[in-house]
Each structure stands twice: as structure tokens, then as C-alpha cells.
Symmetry: C2
Subunit: 409 residues, 2 copies
């Protein structure tokens, strides 16, 4: 960047390069504070969203008649925007749909990638609502060195893992931007783009003068699915269908921008339900990285790989030796096996018991790791079996623009 560029982007560069120890959360960068941890309370305050309290969880259970998903009970999905308004509308019998997505950057998904999809599936089943899933192959093309063809291929591969999470084909439309952008969807992209200046995307996303113009245009592509008339085969020209987006909280900037544009375009502001980041095996200092193979468990990993990765790389809050663990117990605050079990061990009573035993030192590090290995192995093997059933024809069934019926109920 030239000195002139530096000057031009003065405030923004500062905003993107905070003082040492300040946390940074953008769609492309998640870095914890001085202690390496994300301060989620601070993030909620900074972004201007709300935390999800027990009252809201109970209300969802009451409205859907379903016990809350562990991610909801345990605060994995912990923040929201306008969720109360959405539930009010749902209670009045007004329709909504779910929108989530993924940037297809790697061959196989890792467990962190599955988190929003597992939760979205639960939301779809509980509320019995339609769902759109955007695969931003254009985003990955614009940000990385991939070819268009490779981005599209990865999008289809990722679609298989997503479908294996169990979505209902009658109510689920999966699309890649390189396939679906056009028509009503492109017209909404242009409408959003007209509402947003270069100055604004610089402020929100930290774009600079050196960024390519595709990146600068892209936020509108991610925003457009939040408006129901981007999907005429599902909603016709209706603008009164609300949208709820389950996503990790790093995506919040996109949807702040979307919510700003919504009323100017005659749309209802999209609601959000936002998750914490799934920690890397090495410890909670942000998200897992698909580029560091040992930081994550992939849905394609063998039982042996899972066992080795957990035993070798999972950061432990337990004592350095069995004796020390027996004496002092484990620090659950930093223990990755404990954190991961909180995501994936369904049984509340068993989870509580493990926590108690491990914290007190009655359970050893090797033992909690073994519990985690069992849970992950079962989960990954189940996923693999489901994925094997997802043929190309099944992918086509989800990804074809088709008149969709039975959207509700």
C-alpha cells in the first residue's frame, strides 16, 4: 500500500489494526484479545445486537413444542437481532424463512462448519419453515486464487456435506452464486448496491483502494437472499415473508448493512441468531482453520485420525501429570475436550457429570479425551453414512430452481 493509500484509508486502517491485545472480528479475521479469548459480551455491545436469555429459549420451546437444541440451551447461539419481533410475527401466524450459507473454500467441511447447519436443520424442523442456503463460490473466487471452475466444484462438494445434515428437500433450496445470480436475484443485488457507498463498505468491511471491484460489490450478493423476492420460485413477489439468519457472529457486518438497506427497499429487516466460534483443537483463540489440518476434525477424517488429533492436539486444561490432575483438577475454562463436548454431547446429565468429575480431578485428561473421541467418531461416521446417500441427483434436486410447494407446515 502506498503512503498516499495509507493516508486515504487512515481511520479504517486503524480500525482494522487495533492496538495489541484488542480483539478483531470481521468476516475474514477473528483474533482474540490480550488473553487470546474472544470477549463475546464486548462483541455484542460493539455490534449492537442482543444476548439470548433463558426467557427467549423457553419461548421458542413453547412456540415450537420442541425441546431446545443444545446449541441454544448451552449458549452456543447466544446473540440475536429482532428475534423477539420474529417470534411475535410467527405467533400471529405470519410466515418466515431461514437463510444461511457458506463460502466453499475446502474440499471437506470441518466440525466448526457443521455447527450452523446442524442448528439450522433443527430450526427448520422445529418451525417447519423454508430454507435457502447460499454457497458463495463467487466470494471464494474473488478472495482467493481459485478458478471459477474450482470454486463451483467445491460448492457442489460442500453441498453434499450440507445435505447430509438432513435438510428437507421439499422446503430447502441450495444455490451457488455462479449458478443462481440473475433475474430477480440480480435485480435485488442492484437495488442493494444502489443503497451502499464505497465509503460505507470501507467502514463496515475495511475494504481499501487496492481491493478488486468484485469484493466491493460482493456484500450486496450476500445481502440479497435476506429478501424473499430474490426467490420467485418460492415466494413469488412477496415482500412480507420475514427472514431469520442463523450464522456465526463474524457475519454480523453483512447483515447490519442488509438491515440498513431493508426499509429503504420496502422490506422487513432480517432477524439474526448468532453463534460463538467453535474453538480450534489448539485452544480458543478464534475459529478453526481449514488450512491447518491439525486444528480441526474434518467430516472425512477416519476414526484413527480423530483419535490421534484429539490425543495429540486438543489443548488440555487438566494437570500436566495424572498426579497433578488428581490433586488440582482441570481448568474447564481453557479445556478444549470439555468445550467440544459442550457442543456435541447431547446428554445433559452425562455432560454435567463429566464436568464435575473432570474439574475435581476424579477424571483424568485421557478419560475426557476418550469420551470426546467416542462422541466425534460416532458423529463423523454417521455423517459419512448420510453423505454416501447424497448422489449427484440428490444435489440437483436441492439445487434446481423449481416451483416449490409445501413450504410451510
Amino acid at each position: 500500500m502506498s503512503a498516499e493509500e495509507q493516508q486515504q484509508n487512515g481511520e479504517q486502517v486503524e480500525a482494522q489494526q487495533p492496538a495489541d491485545g484488542e480483539q478483531v472480528v470481521t468476516p475474514w479475521d477473528v483474533t482474540g484479545g490480550a488473553d487470546g479469548k474472544i470477549d463475546y459480551n464486548k462483541l455484542v455491545e460493539q455490534f449492537g445486537c442482543q444476548t439470548i436469555g433463558a426467557d427467549l429459549v423457553e419461548r421458542i420451546e413453547r412456540l415450537t413444542g420442541c425441546p431446545a437444541h443444545p446449541f441454544l440451551k448451552r449458549g452456543v447461539f447466544f446473540a440475536h437481532r429482532d428475534l423477539k419481533e420474529l417470534l411475535d410475527a410467527y405467533e400471529r401466524g405470519e410466515p418466515f424463512y431461514l437463510y444461511t450459507g457458506r463460502g466453499p473454500s475446502s474440499e471437506a467441511l470441518h466440525l466448526g462448519h457443521l455447527v450452523p447447519f446442524m442448528f439450522t436443520k433443527w430450526l427448520q424442523d422445529a418451525f417447519k419453515v423454508p430454507l435457502v442456503i447460499q454457497l458463495t463460490d463467487d466470494e471464494k473466487f474473488l478472495w482467493r486464487g481459485l478458478s471459477v471452475e474450482e470454486s463451483r466444484r467445491l460448492a457442489r462438494e460442500n453441498a453434499k456435506d450440507i445435505i447430509a445434515c438432513g435438510f428437507d428437500v421439499r422446503r430447502t433450496f441450495i444455490f451457488s452464486d455462479f449458478e443462481y445470480v440473475g433475474g430477480a436475484f440480480y435485480r435485488n443485488i442492484a437495488r442493494i448496491q444502489r443503497c451502499v457507498t464505497m465509503n460505507q463498505v470501507r467502514g463496515i468491511f475495511g475494504f481499501t483502494m487496492e481491493d478488486n471491484i468484485g469484493k466491493i460489490a460482493f456484500p450486496a450478493v450476500q445481502a440479497a437472499p435476506a429478501f424473499p423476492d430474490s426467490f420467485p420460485h418460492m415466494f413469488g413477489e412477496r415482500k412480507d415473508v420475514r427472514c431469520l439468519i442463523p450464522c456465526a457472529i463474524d457475519q454480523d457486518p453483512y447483515f447490519r448493512m442488509t438491515r440498513d438497506a431493508a426499509p429503504r427497499l420496502g422490506h422487513i429487516k432480517t432477524a439474526l441468531i448468532e453463534s460463538r466460534f467453535f474453538p480450534a483443537l489448539q485452544g480458543e483463540s478464534g475459529k478453526m482453520s481449514a488450512s491447518d489440518e491439525n486444528s480441526a476434525i474434518f467430516v472425512s477424517d477416519t476414526p484413527k485420525q480423530i483419535k490421534n488429533k484429539v490425543n495429540k492436539h486438543a489443548f488440555s486444561g487438566g494437570g500436566a501429570t495424572a498426579e497433578e490432575q488428581r490433586e488440582k483438577g482441570a481448568n474447564l475454562e481453557v479445556d478444549v475436550p470439555w468445550k467440544w463436548l459442550n457442543f456435541f454431547l447431547q446428554d445433559d446429565a452425562k455432560l454435567e457429570q463429566i464436568g464435575r468429575e473432570y474439574a475435581s480431578g476424579r477424571m483424568l485428561t485421557g478419560e475426557i479425551k476418550a469420551e470426546l473421541i467416542a462422541v466425534l467418531t460416532e458423529m463423523v461416521e454417521r455423517h459419512k453414512r448420510a453423505r454416501e446417500l447424497v448422489s449427484d441427483d440428490v444435489v440437483d434436486a436441492f439445487m434446481t430452481v423449481r416451483p416449490m410447494t409445501d413450504l410451510y407446515g
Copy 2:
């Protein structure tokens, strides 16, 4: 614009706001120099294109077996990029196609709008090549206060006037961006966008931080039709079909950018054949404006309107009185009726005679205006009759994405 913005866009603001008397030619602004005139030699030098000499005109006649269109003989289309290379390839039997377009901003076209289409029709007939015509309804939406619906409606209305110029439906694909962007075309847009930074579009087009991100993205939308694989229904995935763009010279910046991107994307650089501006009735100080009704003759004008506009508003280089005209003759350099006859009077001998008589003072201002009125009335009435035949079905025939055969010969 804030002071900070001013500073940020320092060089660019200067480039867009030259000293008094300096000409400015961009796709959105055409302003003549100190004398109000465009210095086309200077423009050619500044843009880095070439002028078209008599040798090139003769070569086109020889290759096509057709006498050159008056616009070519008389220097209306006066500049080019890589036209010689294109003709070399044509001579070797290699294919090319034509690409032109229009931003649909007004209900009816004026005669200045027709100039590129009349010439493009001649090129299509002479070379027997396919043609794509882009209607940038998205551009007009992004730059003006129009709704998406109004932009699309104007695109279809304009398509009728364009079709009335006589294009061959077997070889002509007309599309509006709000209809056609998507698939292979969108993928090329993204490919081009990845090659171009915000800094570059600021330099080429003068965009500022206050411009909306749709404008910033748009140059890639106008560039994409210059690559044949944006039209799989015409060219499949071929990249070896050359492109020739007939346009007014103010569009040159778009295609300089396109030509820079072409080799990086494995494409042949598009060739250009560029015209002067059609002068306003009030005199040659740039392009006609659809927003000033009296600056132009519209294809919807009645014979009476044509007569009144020419008699009242056409700037005359003749003497102030009949006596003065007889004594001193007319200054053809600034005379609009003379300039317009140079565009539209086909008969070379008659044109020469009028010029001689009028310059010498033997012909009066009223007489040359009467000649022009006769030419324009006949031309506009012929256009109206042709346009009446262009039903919605005919528009659909040109605008439908269809497998196209008989593209050549």
C-alpha cells in the same frame, strides 16, 4: 463531498475538473474545449487509439465487396483499436462478432442514438456476422433515480427502436442486463472484477468514495459482452471468436479496461471502431441530450415538430440576413444543418453541391434547412413505419436466449 473526501480524491477530482477550456470526455460527461468544440485529434492521442485512414476504408470495401457506409467515408466513425488485426483475421477466415449497446434512459431515441445502430447494421450486413446488443438497464438504474421496473420497461421500448433499424433476427441477440446477467455471463463479470481494483476504476472513470458500489462494479458488466463465452447459446465455450465494438468515442474508457483484462483471462483483445459525437441542434459542444427536447430530433417527432425544431433551433453558420449570406456565404465549420446533412444525406454528389452553393452564398440558410427537413422527415417517417411492425413478439424473438444457428454467412 467532505473535505476529507476531497483530499482523498485529490488527483482524480483534478482530472475530472480540468482548467477552464480543457475538454472532458468520459462516458458521463462530454464538454468541448475553450471554443466549445471537441478536438478529436487530441482525444485520439489522449486515449491512445488510431485514426481510420482512406486505406482502411478501401480495405473494408475490398474485403466485404460493399461500398463504404457514408459514416465511414465521411469520418463519422473515425478512430479504431486493432481494426487492422481484426481484418487480418477476417481475411484468414477467422470469425468475429459485433457488440454494441445502449443505456435505456429515455422513452424514444433521438437521431444521435441511432448513429451507432445504423452503422452496426451496415457492418452486420457487410461482414455477415453475429451481433449482441446490450441494454444496460442496470446502469441507468444505478446512475439515475429510476425504479428497476421503469428501467426494464425503457429497455424494451428502446429495443423496438433498435430492431426497427433492420437487424437480422437470425444473427442478433438483444439483451437487458436485468434479464440476462447470470450463468456464464455472471462468471465472466466476476472474472473481470477480480482483475480491476477500486484504484483503477477511480483512475479510469473518476469514481469517488461517495459512489454507490453498484456503479463501482458496473464497468465489468459492460466489459463482459466483449468475451464470446458470455454467450454460450451463440458461441458455446469458444474464446477464439474476436469482438468488434462500434461505439461513440466516449465509451472508450470501458473498453480500455476490457482490453487490459482480456489477455489475463485468455481472451483476444476486443477491437473498436469509434465515432464522433452527433452535434446538438444548438451547435457542436458535445452530445445531444435526451433531457433537452429542443436539442434533438426524436424518432417519434412529427413532421411539424421536425420542421419547427430545425427552423427555430438549428444553429446556422449562414449570414444573419439573406443579403449578408449572399455577400459572405456560410461558415460550414459551425453550421448544424450542414453537419447533420453530412450524417444523413446519402447522395454524395448532392451533398457536395449543397456545401459548395451554401458556402459561397448562392444557397440561403432557409434553403439548406429545407433540405435537412426533407431528409429528416423521410428518415423519421420510415423509422416509424418500421417500428410499427416491431410487436412484443418480435422483441421477444430478438431477446430470447435461444440456440442460435446461421451465425455466419
